[in-house]
């Protein structure tokens, strides 16, 4: 069987098996075993257990549960509420100030947790009811939280970047830095769109005579400043050469646990177990997919499928931007159905040789890929954030939430276009701080 036919067969079987609802990790593991047996016989299986284990035997992967724990500790505490209230007190005079507070809180919370659903749920629980109480349109209230939540996987620390870095052997520190400016840019685009919508409808959130005193404004800061200090500390340790990503994440996780206990008095075993349970479930889910993806990658490489695909695309001699457009459409469609972790781990090793052969920067591409994954998080049918927001505001029809997210999807697409026009939006900061 030629590699092309084998590739087509692998693609069809993978789609059929994944769509059937089998857990992604075991699904891609089973697909790998099936094709290894078909093409190499049962002897080919001898390496499978070792490959599965070695996929996890990497100290860099330690950063994943550590960052997840950091996010779980903060996500389980009322830090999101405090963050949101603090921003509201400073921004309430602006037209649409509450939406801007929510988006700003999402961006900062993203830097604390690295998780999109955690970000969406933590800020949305306070933000959506408050926006609706003050009369904001349902579409804006829900759409802005859905979109703001996605910043969790773009603004560092981002688990998406860790996975991409591991899958493509790129520096995680460089990827983190590459996400900063695009993250701020997307937050800005979301805010600009919101301001346009709000000012067009002539909406005022507060009575003209309503004022927060300076005391109230400053009183809101102390509770959140230690968490911000941890983020700054983690980033300083990372880029100051004091610690590896795993070490910085480990210290950050321990500090977040301590602060959750010290500031929010989270003493009870139930609160502790909630943090540990969330950490355990999410970390193991991701790590199992990683291990299975390593077998999947081994199977693709040993059948020469990766190399054949890369060569085939190179032989087509298409314009590199047409190629980028095709890749974006492919990722976008994948993102509609498949969870980000699985897409990144399964496609990155295949796409990387194509990207580098076409002369694109792999770090820059990591940012593009992540924004595509963000779109998938707020686009049906998977669109996890839509369902989280829908659970927070069950009386808002799902279709209205989806329509509310649409302008923000377009903002993200605009973000991708801007990154293609000016790649330095992503590469400038890592080049500046870590050298070209």
């Amino acid at each position: 069987m030629s590699p092309t036919t084998a590739g087509a067969l692998v693609l069809v079987v993978t789609l059929v098996i994944l769509v059937s609802g089998v857990p992604v990790a075991f699904g891609i593991g089973a697909i790998s075993v099936i094709f290894i047996v078909i093409f190499q016989g049962f002897d080919g299986l001898q390496i499978v257990a070792q490959t599965f284990y070695s996929g996890l035997d990497d100290f860099t992967l330690v950063s994943i549960p550590m960052f997840v724990m950091m996010g779980a500790a903060i996500g389980s505490s009322p830090a999101g509420k405090d963050l949101y209230e603090a921003l509201d007190r400073w921004l309430y005079r602006l037209p649409g100030g509450l939406v801007l507070s929510n988006l700003g809180a999402c961006a900062i919370f993203a830097a604390l947790t690295g998780s999109s659903p955690a970000c969406c749920a933590a800020i949305g629980k306070m933000g959506i009811p408050e926006m609706r109480r003050r009369g904001y349109p349902d579409g804006v209230a829900t759409g802005s939280i859905c979109a703001g939540g996605t910043l969790g996987i773009l603004i560092p620390p981002s688990i998406t970047f860790i996975l991409y870095g591991i899958a493509t052997e790129n520096s995680i520190g460089r990827l983190f830095l590459a996400g900063v400016v695009p993250g701020i840019m997307l937050t800005g685009l979301f805010m600009i769109w919101t301001l346009i919508t709000i000012s067009r409808s002539g909406f005022r959130a507060y009575a003209a005579d309503f004022r927060y005193s300076w005391k109230e404004k400053f009183n809101a800061i102390p509770k959140i400043s230690p968490f911000i200090a941890i983020i700054v500390g983690v980033m300083y340790a990372l880029y100051g050469g004091l610690a590896t990503p795993s070490e910085a994440a480990g210290v950050g996780a321990a500090l977040c646990l301590v602060l959750a206990i010290a500031i929010y008095r989270m003493w009870s075993p139930a609160e502790w177990w909630q943090i540990l349970r969330d950490t355990t479930r999410e970390s193991i889910m991701i790590l199992t997919i990683i291990a299975a993806a390593v077998i999947f990658g081994y199977m693709l490489t040993s059948l020469y499928l990766t190399q054949t695909l890369a060569q085939g695309i190179a032989d087509m001699h298409v314009n590199r931007w047409v190629l980028m457009l095709m890749i974006n459409v492919f990722l976008l469609v994948c993102g509609f159905f498949i969870p980000p972790a699985a897409i990144i781990l399964m496609t990155s090793p295949i796409l990387l040789p194509i990207i580098t052969a076409a002369g694109f920067d792999p770090v820059w591409f990591g940012v593009i890929l992540t924004i595509n994954m963000e779109i998938g998080l707020i686009h049906p049918p998977v669109g996890l954030n839509i369902y989280i927001v829908s659970a927070i505001a069950p009386d808002v029809p799902l279709t209205r939430v989806m329509w509310g997210t649409l302008p923000y999807v377009l903002c993200m697409m605009l973000g991708i276009v801007l990154l293609c026009i000016e790649p330095r939006i992503a590469t400038w900061l890592p080049d500046l701080l870590m050298g070209g």
Binding site: V62, P65, M285, I286, P339, P381
Partner: protein, 178 residues
């Protein structure tokens, strides 16, 4: 049958506690390592290997708990949009395929562990640890995972649990995080 299901679920829950403990232990060892190197200025020897092993063990040992709590993410578009009968067959296919993979991997993992044990393999790092110790987590965790899958199968076939744990009319069922 109920006794078997309850026993396996209790073991899976215990696995969850063990995995959570291993992750917390990993966090503390990382902090100790950073303290020892940055503050005391001494070299670290065993910590990197130990933390990595802790998290690998947590992944395998904790997997039955994650399965029991439906934390292993799946693509649930088709199950969500299919009728009860087709959803049942999809769930059966999904469980059988995953279970087959887990059992095959458990057998291969046992062989891998046995080789490490019988040949007294040691790591290439400074610590020179005996590799059969960390490797043991793999077959052990996979066997427990296979048992949890047997429970999932029984619950599906006897109607104790709905297919994919989805209640009729469910709109979304995964926690496809990140």
């Amino acid at each position: 049958m109920d006794g078997f299901i309850k026993a396996v679920r209790t073991v899976s829950l215990a696995c969850g506690f063990v995995a959570a403990f291993l992750i917390v232990l990993g966090v503390f060892i990382v902090c100790e390592m950073v303290f020892e190197r940055s503050v005391l200025g001494t070299n670290t020897i065993w910590q990197t290997d130990f933390v990595t092993n802790c998290l690998i063990a947590a992944t395998f040992i904790g997997s039955p708990y994650v399965l029991m709590t439906r934390g292993h993410v799946n693509v649930d578009v088709l199950p969500l949009h299919s009728g009860p009968r087709f959803r049942f067959w999809l769930a059966l296919f999904s469980i059988l395929l995953a279970m087959a993979f887990v059992i095959i991997l458990a057998v291969l993992a046992y062989n891998f562990w046995y080789e490490a044990w019988s040949h007294n393999w040691r790591s290439n790092t400074v610590w020179r640890e005996r590799l059969w110790i960390p490797y043991a987590a793999m077959p052990a965790g996979l066997i427990l995972l296979a048992l949890q899958y047997v429970v999932e199968l029984i619950c599906l076939l006897t109607g104790r649990e709905p297919p994919f744990g989805l209640k009729p009319g469910a709109r979304h069922g995964t926690e496809a995080g990140l």
